[in-house]
Symmetry: C2
Subunit: 338 residues, 2 copies
Amino acid sequence: MARLAGVSEATVSRVLNGVGPIKEETRQRVLEAAAALHYVPSAIAQQFARRRSGNLGIILPLLPKVNLFATHYFSELLSGIGATAKQEGYDLLLFFQGHDEPRHYDRLFQAQKIDACIILGAQDVPAEREALKELHAASRAFCLISQRYEDEPYNTVDADHASGVRAAVKHLLEKGYERIGLLNGPSVYSNSRDRLEGFRQALAEQQLAASDAPVLIGNYSRKSGYSHADQVAMLIRKGELDAIVAGSDRMAIGLLQGLKEHGLTAGIHYGLVGCDDSEGSRLTDPALTSLTVPFYEAGSEAAARLLTSASDEEAESGFQLKLPVQLVVRGSSAVRPL
Amino acid sequence: MARLAGVSEATVSRVLNGVGPIKEETRQRVLEAAAALHYVPSAIAQQFARRRSGNLGIILPLLPKVNLFATHYFSELLSGIGATAKQEGYDLLLFFQGHDEPRHYDRLFQAQKIDACIILGAQDVPAEREALKELHAASRAFCLISQRYEDEPYNTVDADHASGVRAAVKHLLEKGYERIGLLNGPSVYSNSRDRLEGFRQALAEQQLAASDAPVLIGNYSRKSGYSHADQVAMLIRKGELDAIVAGSDRMAIGLLQGLKEHGLTAGIHYGLVGCDDSEGSRLTDPALTSLTVPFYEAGSEAAARLLTSASDEEAESGFQLKLPVQLVVRGSSAVRPL
DNA sequence: GTGAAAGCGCTAACAC
DNA sequence: GTGTTAGCGCTTTCAC
């Protein structure tokens, strides 16, 4: 105890935490003693006494081994969260959530392991809704990223996927493509629904009938894109399709590879746009036009809103952020030769 | 307090922790009461009383925004660590370490935030060595992944990069390539040194002079691979090189793209092998032959060794694991046409 | 087999 | 401004 070294008692606490009025001289004495003794306060005891853990929980889906969250999506998000959390004096506590496991999110709060939490990869399924409702009922500080529940007032941070897809379709039309299709992800993710909506809006704006525009559903994986190649090749050959927007870069890349086997090259025989502007978009030949999503900012915004509101005890009004998405044009959507 | 519901006192603790002899009947009573009251023990208080945090710290390098740890490397590692930690009842506490920031690793132990820790992306630089020495001096349970210090007895888990590169070189020679080069990473990483060693061994085994085999040094990024393309193209044109092993898939891919601009195609004009068997290796055209590294296993092994030894108070003997690496053959190292 | 009591190392009233 | 005094909610000797 540094109190021996100095002369005081709980004053040490005040000095170290910078609370209450302290005479500069004693402050110095305490600081010196602490330094001399290499004193490091026990975080465990502090947490206990303060009844707050100082931890920001992060719940992320445990995808099957390989390609877990390779998609640079989680990487960016985590970095953004981490930077802000550090700045606010919080540590990051990670929880992998198996898809089938019971979602005991609130238990993390009850156990006081975390003071706030960010949920990644939430799905629109009953078990998830239940778990979130519980959090909300208990007034927990939590936030969803990249997933919204239209009928619930939860805090969310998302990208404006609808605008993104609108921009993509507009771009393709300007490039001379005429029959645009969509390879979307499953509707348990709100961003899939957003993309569909953006797609329809874009067609409507151009007075194009959305009803006969091809919309295929995959699962966001490269494999899924690849497996749709046969069908897409047929549509292209029949003249019913000449460009496609995919809900993820991975699906786009799989599709691109599959169509190459059909002798169809992106940017020549058809136009292709992906989503996420992942590293992979730069690896294909031709490189993939994509929509860049500010994941880092999403993470840091989410953390900032949660953590600063946690310290303020003010009535926090909740938030539903929608971050802008931007088109990055590359070879896969080059001018269409007639 | 569940004690009201039941009748006992500290017995609750015993029941919930399954220690000491308990009459089955009281055990049931306590359990029922706990269930009825939705009792969840405070992790914070438990940690405090037990003087252990129950956290496994993970230190990972904070790389500049984009492509942070996209490389599936960290993803796999984290998943492996997470799975084992969960199984052992530990939570994961994440710390991003800026390259320039002071490395106060031991402070995490002093503050009792963590009971053990895994360090990813450690470099062989003085500040790092200093921080690790401090951990070792204080007998902390820690482990390095993918980095060894030859002169220090630290716990490590690594892949057998030397064998991997040997296998790669052998494979290329068998395919008919004759003048193999190496595009390596910087020697602050032990795996770079390992690869160089494996490379030299392989040449020596084949009675080839290692001295005039081209060895280039990049920094593991795609950009770095790309920027070596000019030099490599020249070597190929001069007949001084016809195949190359790159220290990472990303460098290999950058090189492949750069050489394509020189009109040189992997698998036709030259042979190419990468390292890590990342997702990107399947995206290039041709697909990239690579060395598959068991990152998931590395993570889970590291966690297992640390956490089981932490509970056993036995003399833990330390460990230096070397996991096997395997060659995955794809198009970039096809038979060389003469 | 179970209760009683001490205490983990801090913070936060409350006096002085 | 600073010391005194209670706990925070568990675990853990030690008796019984």
